[in-house]
């Protein structure tokens, strides 16, 4: 593999790690709220989170490009804060990936939180556990399979992202040329040998990641008990 291809591998890993970390930080409280809220706006928020599942990346990329541009709200904000503009930068890719991979992190977490029986949290409350304590000592450990699924899917989906990155990235080696774009470039330029090396690696990666996830999250013979 060439140095350019290795730089694409490193960049993709960095992007996926950063995105997953941010998504866990933002997505966990969001998923908790969605799982517990009785707000009438819940369907709206749940839909907003799920939107990237049904919207083509070209739509998301197009609006991100407009919003982050000099005429866009986000673009003017980042410029005013002295952060420069987001398109064609690593930070821009992170923002795009966080939005695009959001449902893959929030939904497994939300389902895990929803599966936690109310009486467990109520029991903890009667033992004078504070809301924070109930969340960190009861809810989060019980939601561990969901947390694992969310992290793996968030990471893997960011690695597999293409359309949004292509539209807001500008294909800059070492900064925004991630693996999926590098493969696309090789294929377009009829450099099939290079394309194969990267593409086969990504197929293997996706398979290994998903198989390990299913193995680890396999329902055990003796159920965790507490969850039911």
């Amino acid at each position: 593999m060439t140095a350019a291809d290795w730089s694409a591998v490193r960049l993709t890993a960095a992007l996926a790690f950063t995105t997953t970390l941010l998504l866990l930080l933002v997505g966990t409280p969001l998923a908790w709220w969605l799982a517990r809220t009785r707000s009438r706006l819940k369907p709206l928020w749940a839909s907003l989170v799920a939107m990237p599942l049904v919207l083509p990346p070209s739509v998301l990329g197009f609006y991100l490009l407009l919003a982050m541009g000099p005429q866009g709200v986000v673009g003017q904000l980042t410029h005013a804060l002295g952060l420069g503009r987001l398109p064609f930068s690593f930070a821009g890719l992170v923002v795009g990936s966080v939005l695009y991979s959001m449902p893959f992190v929030v939904q497994p977490l939300q389902q895990a939180f929803e599966a936690i029986a109310d009486n467990l949290l109520e029991a903890a409350a009667t033992l004078r556990a504070s809301p924070w304590d109930r969340f960190f000592s009861v809810a989060l450990p019980l939601a561990r399979p969901g947390l694992l699924t969310a992290s793996v899917l968030g990471f893997a989906h960011t690695v597999g992202e293409f359309g949004v990155v292509l539209m807001i990235g500008g294909n800059i080696p070492g900064r925004t040329r991630v693996l999926s774009v590098a493969v696309y470039d090789h294929v377009e330029a009829s450099e099939f040998a290079q394309a194969h090396r990267l593409a086969a690696g990504m197929v293997a990666f996706a398979l290994v990641v998903l198989v390990s996830l299913y193995v680890v999250n396999r329902p055990r013979a003796e159920p965790a008990g507490a969850a039911r």
Partner: protein, 297 residues
């Protein structure tokens, strides 16, 4: 828990029993009793009868013209999509044939044709792809010809940013310079040749952003995310519309000629309409459009 559950179930039943009744009763009763429905009924019954001769004439005319007129599946380079739409109007008016146009990157069309895409004519952004298709037996030998010579411009959506000497390239007054992928797009390659001729490749490398096609490059600049970039003159200059921003028409001496060739693909060999399109591309009417969009010939 039983209380709240009964509510929705009950209303659903009421709705269900109401809906079919309304839907079923309305047409039968109303069509007889209600004057409005009766009018509608008679209207729809009478109209075709009264106009039947006309309708038959029109249908007959359509059938005969369809028998003669054909459709051409055209793959066109993104930079020529605008001019082709204009040329297509004249072509359809002159011959009765219609065009089904796919616009995209020439390199992608090459892979798609190799994979058996049903395109009948390729209007490429370079001269290498048509020649290669002929060599590989996927296009009809002897049908490829240069329909236009592309004009490269350094364009910005901001008025006054780009001067007519291209001195802006050394001014440092921009963060991003957009170029189409030089490996894939002839205009991208030409843009890089300009930078090389000016000795700016290394200095500007950190500012380069690459569009997959000339169309995406245009979109980076049009949205203001890249302050300027190399595109085709045909994209910046649309006849009948004012030019947005500022541009420098790059002298052809600074880059290799962008010869754009068209070719008849094997799939279109027996389609008279496809052959007619290539002939029409060489006509004076088509040439006038091509020149109006800023292409050389």
């Amino acid at each position: 828990m039983k209380g709240p559950l009964r509510g929705p179930v009950a209303t659903a039943e009421v709705k269900r029993s109401r809906l079919p009744g309304r839907a079923f009763a309305a047409p039968t009763v109303a069509s007889r009793a209600h004057p409005r429905y009766r009018y509608k009924l008679s209207f729809t019954m009478k109209l075709p009868l009264r106009r039947l001769p006309h309708a038959l004439l029109i249908a007959g005319a359509l059938c005969t013209s369809l028998a003669r007129a054909g459709d051409v599946q055209v793959a066109v380079a993104a930079n020529f999509a605008g001019p082709l739409a204009k040329i297509g109007e004249g072509f359809t008016a002159a011959t009765g044939h219609s065009l089904t146009v796919s616009a995209g990157a020439t390199g992608k069309f090459y892979s798609q044709v190799v994979a058996g895409a049903p395109f009948e004519v390729l209007i490429a952004a370079d001269d290498e792809t048509p020649a290669r298709l002929v060599k590989e037996g996927l296009a009809v030998p002897g049908t490829d010809f240069t329909y236009a010579i592309g004009t490269l411009v350094l364009w910005s959506a901001q008025p006054g940013l780009v001067d007519d000497q291209g001195a802006v390239l050394t001014s440092g007054r921009f963060d991003h310079l957009a170029v189409a992928n030089p490996k894939l797009a002839p205009y991208g390659r030409a843009g890089m040749e300009v930078l090389k001729a000016r000795g700016l490749v290394d200095a500007l490398a950190p500012k380069l952003v690459t569009g997959e096609t000339i169309a995406q490059t245009y979109q980076f600049i049009a949205t203001g995310n890249a302050e300027l970039g190399f595109v085709a003159l045909s994209q910046a200059l649309v006849p009948g519309k004012p030019v947005v921003g500022s541009y420098w028409r790059v002298p052809p001496s600074l880059h290799g000629a962008i010869r754009q060739d068209a070719v008849l693909l094997k799939a279109g060999e027996k389609n008279a309409a496809a052959v007619a399109l290539l002939t029409y591309l060489k006509s004076d009417a088509a040439r006038r459009v091509i020149q109006a969009y800023g292409y050389g010939h």
